[in-house]
């Protein structure tokens, strides 16, 4: 989950003063670095630190972001643009009926601990996820009927019904391959096959990788990578400015100008699947009335909101532009406070009072915007900021809320709209059927069309409002080449990055 926007106003004074001083001292432009150092140390500043390194049993973008592809690998992986490509499998084949997946493994792949990768490691790893509910992605692999290794370098998955999302699920934590019978304590250590070895994790501070010199593929472009976790956005910018970082991501939009072109830093804007979702509790009055939900959506000027946030794009339906099934649904919710007031009058809700439950680390920008927008149509919104764990308990688990706002990071998470148990409590059998057929559809194009149809229905029902899809601002320092731009909050593959002095 989550990249917060906060403390904007609080920091405004500091920002101004910083800029003024930076201007006074006038850092002279350093000479352009040219010589690539293959053993360089890349210093990356991040915001959200994983709470444990146990990627098999703990969900969270912060874990996937650093560990997948760098330390651990799966049969397949995905590009920053969310395209599926082979990884530990040199190739794979899907049978025309979509029920059999045959993967051929690369030869000569070894684990960091020295073990050789064989098909039985893959079977062992996937079996664990399929059979134990405590593993991340257990539900997503439910359609797997059998996992077999006919020889040392071939793995065959047989499904009980086709699953269009299977390969995508395998690009995530559920598909990672571990050494069979390995007893590494995954909470604090790692034993993968990736281009980097986990060197150390200083909790509350940093994670360090060393290049894996025995890597089966293209060796990593730097010798060491340090990920420093800096939860305070201004402290992160300070760290970049005082020369402690080569890369900082994400940079909060209202602080980005401090780094733009300063000390050789350049800003890079990347697409994400970060959906800032204003959830309506579809099961409770008055939000069970679609007219009320539509009115709330019409009251929001999405273009203006994106401008206030500073980085992002509008998103008028449940599927973001990086995911299959996306289409522009802006015509469904034009900014129209007049019509919103009408709808509320029709619904008999002229003096509506609603409560928004929002994790406090998102700051106040969004909630202030919403309070004012809803006020214009006669809806009084009170804001209840809570800790994220409280949100998980009250809103996510117990469904005890009216409106809620969190950032849903995960790509291809449309399933939440087809699951009436999910905290949105949105229950439309037609959407559920469309989603089910999109999953079992073998042809990706046809599947995407079914998803698009389902997404349109969800947006027409005004099941929620999709405030915007975030863009991630990354500050890239001098000499850094090869850093991917998109999806960095869920996947930060640094193996192709080089650093010049």
């Amino acid at each position: 989950m989550s990249f917060p926007i906060r403390r904007a106003a609080f920091l405004a004074a500091g920002l101004t003063a910083t800029l003024a001083l930076a201007a006074c001292t006038g850092q002279a432009p350093a000479p352009e670095p040219t010589e690539v150092d293959p053993d360089a140390t890349l210093r990356v500043g991040l915001v959200l630190e994983p709470t444990t390194l146990d990627i098999r049993r703990t969900s969270g973008a912060a874990l996937e972001q650093v560990l997948v592809d760098n330390v651990y690998e799966g049969l397949v992986t995905r590009t920053p643009e969310n395209e599926i490509v082979p990884s530990l499998a040199s190739e794979y084949e899907v049978s025309p009926d979509g029920l059999t997946y045959t993967f051929t493994l690369h030869e000569g792949v070894t684990f960091h601990g020295g073990g050789e990768l064989t098909a039985s490691d893959v079977v062992w790893s996937l079996d664990a996820v399929v059979s134990d509910a405590a593993f991340v992605g257990h539900d997503d692999l439910a359609s797997i009927a059998s996992i077999e290794a006919p020889d040392d370098h071939t793995v065959v998955l047989t499904l009980s019904e086709p699953n269009q999302n299977l390969l995508f699920t395998l690009t995530g934590p559920a598909g990672l391959v571990f050494d069979e019978g390995d007893e590494t304590d995954l909470k604090t250590a790692a034993n993968g096959t990736g281009p980097f070895l986990l060197d150390s994790w200083v909790q509350g501070d940093s994670i360090t990788f060393q290049r894996n010199d025995a890597y089966w593929g293209e060796p990593a472009g730097v010798g060491t990578v340090t990920f420093s976790y800096i939860p305070d956005f201004q402290a992160g910018v300070s760290a970049a400015l005082d020369g402690s970082l080569d890369v900082l991501t994400p940079v909060q939009a209202d602080l980005a100008s401090q780094l733009d072109g300063v000390n050789g830093f350049e800003l890079q804007y990347g697409r994400t699947t970060d959906k800032y979702v204003l959830a309506f509790n579809n099961a409770v009055a008055p939000l069970d009335d679609p007219r009320v939900r539509e009115a709330l959506r019409l009251a929001i000027d999405h273009e203006a909101l994106v401008e206030v946030i500073g980085a992002g794009e509008t998103q008028y339906g449940p599927i973001p532009s990086l995911d299959p099934g996306y289409e522009d649904l802006s015509e469904l919710v034009p900014f129209d406070p007049e019509r919103a007031r009408q709808l509320l009058a029709e619904a008999g809700q002229e003096n509506l009072q609603l409560e928004l439950t929002i994790p406090s680390f998102y700051g106040t920008t969004i909630s202030t915007f919403l309070v004012s927008a809803f006020n214009d149509i006669g809806v009084e919104l009170t804001v209840e900021p809570v800790e994220f764990s409280t949100w998980l308990n009250d809103v996510y688990t117990n469904g005890d809320y009216e409106l809620s706002m969190v950032n849903h990071v995960e790509p291809r998470d449309f399933g939440a709209w087809a699951n009436p148990e999910y905290y949105f409590h949105y229950d439309n059998p037609q959407v559920q059927e469309l989603y089910a057929s999109a999953l079992t559809e073998v042809d990706p194009e046809a599947s995407a069309e079914l998803l698009a149809d389902a997404a349109r229905l969800v947006s027409e029902d005004h099941a929620a409002d999709w405030l915007y899809t975030a863009e991630q601002i990354t500050a890239v320092g001098p000499g850094v080449e090869g850093l991917p731009a998109d999806s960095l909050n869920s996947r930060l593959d640094v193996s192709g990055v080089t650093l010049a002095h």
Partner: protein
Amino acid sequence: MIRYALTRLLLLAVGLAVASAIIFLTLRVFPGDVAQMIAGTNGTPEQVARIRTELGLDRPLLTQYLDWIGGVFTGDLGSSFLTGTPVTAELAEKARVTVPLGILAMAIALIVAVPFGVLSAVRRGRADGTAISVIAQALAAVPVVWAGMMLVVVFAVGLGWLPAQGFPTATGWSTPWLALRSLLLPALTIGVVEGAMLLRFVRSATLQAIGEDFVRTAAAKGLTRTQALLRHGLPSVGLSIITVLGLQVAGIIVGAVVIEQVFNLPGIGRMLVTDVGARDLEKVQGELLLLTAFVLAIGFLVDLLHHAIDPRQREAE
């Protein structure tokens, strides 16, 4: 003296026992638990239930409490639900940042508070004495976060003298100058604000001392007022300062929670915030119990010291 010490020690033990129960119970009042955090926003109720069972969170509260306290008696304060790291190891590691930070901050607070506090009392009613009081009043009202950011802007970003954030974790105190440099600004931030508060205390203690019989008597015997104050008054001011300093240990830990966030320091304060957020309660309760024990122990030492130094207390016994 020994009887006094034993009584105090008994009080300390009772205090700790009560604290352990309060810590345990108040942490359970928080909504949400670590199992939900582990499962995240894709977690199913079955998954959460499985994790809860694995971690023993589905056992009755009393069982959980007794298990924990039983461990504490054998020196096992518990370990993290999330990483399995023992609480003691984590605290020892983070103390490398927070303890020196606290000592530095206290030293700075004393350097600010004692001379200026005494001066402002002695020069009461004159321009310089009043000026010190007013400045101290203003400084004590400054939010620590804001003070920290201003110091960063001037000394780190502007002048480039000191690092803006971070601690050299890789080398730690084996590179003492680097480590010390990284703590100077945060210590200054806490130290000046706490020092300004302490200053007002020193001032009133000094004023009180000036009015004490034994200072007046000394002055009557021919010492100047300043001499009398320095020789006979200051020890009594010193006693008051020790008491307040003991109380300020807790204040500095609280200050560290804020300042370690602003300066991105991997210390005890930041760890507590993270652990509470992640609902890693077994770890949090171990950490809090140790910190409580530390603060109570300081209080115990201060009491003993007071008792040893102050003749009035011994006579009263």
